[in-house]
């Protein structure tokens, strides 16, 4: 499986491209969530689950330089041989610009970037079991992993958000098949459990033996998930979000404190083993 590969630094750099991608679709999924589908020949076939792209939020180069100088890192929601799909949340000026980009225009995309989810190999042909915990827009980074993992694992996918309209959870998950078990939590109780994702985990962990735990979302949630993984001995990866400038490892804007010193969220991460992180 692709996402089990450990990428060395040089091959990661060699596999990164700058591509002008044609926008296939850019549409609202809810009040605050949008989906952007891009045609990509260079980046799409190289994407591994967990990696991200760094994209300009306007189709006009001068608008980018003078209005939206910094690219935005967005995790890849879905990718196949010629398409990349991203899900983004409307949060500020950059994403407000991005929703104005119409189909047919071109966006400058840099990628794929970063480390991928590192699922431990199963010892025999038995079916593994994995627990994925996504909070808010961070859930998007787990979808490609869920698609791949369900080929070999039963996957408990815990998806949380502030309310039902912010859940990154839709009919795409049906493609994961029957090995996917969905668990929903919302802060306001508008869907699933009324509360946090973290509330659902003790019962799941008590009742199942997990080979792998992966989480992406608010850092406070990831920290709690990582603590649970440590106390129960489950191998756990986290995907961290940072502000980024270059996105390729040069500027050191996106530093993460780890037991090995400062690491870069862009190229050393975004996926880290949870035990490396100094929370």
């Amino acid at each position: 499986m692709n996402c089990e590969q450990k990428l060395d630094y040089e091959s990661k750099l060699n596999d990164c491209f700058l591509e002008d991608c044609v926008v296939l679709r850019n549409y609202a999924l809810s009040d605050t969530l949008w989906r952007l589908d891009l045609r990509s020949d260079l980046i799409a076939p190289r994407v591994l689950p967990g990696q991200f792209v760094h994209l300009c939020v306007s189709a006009s180069p001068s608008d980018c330089v003078f209005g939206h100088l910094l690219r935005r890192p967005l995790s890849v929601y879905f990718a196949n041989n010629d398409t990349i799909s991203l899900i983004y949340q409307l949060v500020g000026r950059g994403t407000r610009s991005l929703i104005c980009v119409s189909a047919g225009s071109r966006l400058s995309v840099l990628g794929p970037i970063g480390s991928c989810w590192s699922v431990p190999a199963l010892k025999d042909n038995s079916c593994g079991r994995a627990l994925l915990v996504g909070g808010g827009i961070g859930t998007a980074a787990l979808h490609l992993l869920a698609r791949q993992l369900t080929q070999t694992h039963v996957v408990d996918f815990v998806v949380g958000a502030a309310n039902a309209s912010m859940l990154v959870c839709n009919e795409d998950l049906l493609l994961c098949g029957e090995k996917l078990r969905l668990h929903i939590a919302t802060d306001d109780g508008s869907a699933g459990h009324h509360g946090f994702t973290i509330d659902l985990l003790p019962e799941l962990v008590n009742n199942n033996k997990y080979h792998y735990l992966a989480t992406c979302g608010p850092e406070i949630m990831q920290r709690k998930v990582a603590a649970l993984a440590k106390s129960t001995g489950i191998y756990c990866d986290v995907s961290l979000e940072r502000r980024m400038a270059c996105g390729i490892g040069a500027c050191l804007s996106c530093s993460v404190d780890t037991i090995y010193g400062k690491k870069r969220a862009c190229v050393d991460g975004p996926v880290f083993n949870a035990e490396e992180i100094l929370w």
């Binding site: 330089v65 100088l69 690219r71 502000r243 400038a245 040069a250 050191l252 804007s253 530093s255």
Partner: protein
Amino acid sequence: MVKHAVTQNECLGVCESVNLAVNLGGLMMQNPLTVASGTFGSGREYHALWRNAGYHDGIGALGAITTKGVSLKPWDGNAGIRITQSAAGMLNSIGLQNKGVEEFCAIDLAWLKQNAAGTAVIVNVCGHSLDEYQLVIQRLEEEASVSAYELNISCPNVSCGGMSFGTDALLASELTARCRTLTKRPLIVKLTPNVTDITEIARAIESAGADAVSLINTVAGMSIDIKSRKALFERKVAGLSGPAIKPVALWAVYRVAQAVNIPVLGMGGICTVEDCVEFLLAGACALAVGTASFNDPLSAPHLLEGLQQWCEQNGVRNVSELTGALN
């Protein structure tokens, strides 16, 4: 002045090529373009990307590579948020994070030697004290692949050293003089615009033996999170860069070029070919592209191609003719 008397039509027949080479205070550059320290690491990350985009020499296309600041011991850089976007620019508070001169020599210089042997390497040197700057240079003198030094006395993001040397003419002069005794290599001093009179500092470092002066470093700025009513950056101050500061940089380059006889490495918000030409006309001998690389990682090779074309179309045979050629 009849420097630009050749018309475009004549040029198409005559100017088959443009001589882009410049001499920056003894540093021979194949073209006037380098990168602003701190925006480019040591080039390795951009090298692969440029090659993937069809620039087969990778970062070897540059006139010089300017490395991120190198200190004696590893520096952790600043805690908390390190960047934010602002109108036509960005603020950074990285804090000169680097792994120290030993690891720089073992990894970065070794990589540069193997992958960009034909291109000049300017090592940006930073320190907390006069001694630290000197010790870094002493160590780098052992390395054959270093072409020149850029003394960083202008970073607003460290509390000890950095900008404190660049805002005091006496200190700037003493540091330059001490480093001058340690090396015959071209010594460039990078100035901050956050002073009352940048020409005073420029004259001081010229008298102390600098071969060239580079400017500007970032402009001191601030950002506030109104929800928490806290400064966005832990150190409160951060460095503003990008097209927002270009007019400030251009004016500083013009004034310094008028005030000193050493060549000027101009930078500050360069994004377009027109920006490059403006800096040259204002008096810059060479140019650095910085923040623009974050928006377009191929900015530098694009600007190089564009500058060459501009020269061809405007009858400029030697790019050095443009330096200070303001009418």
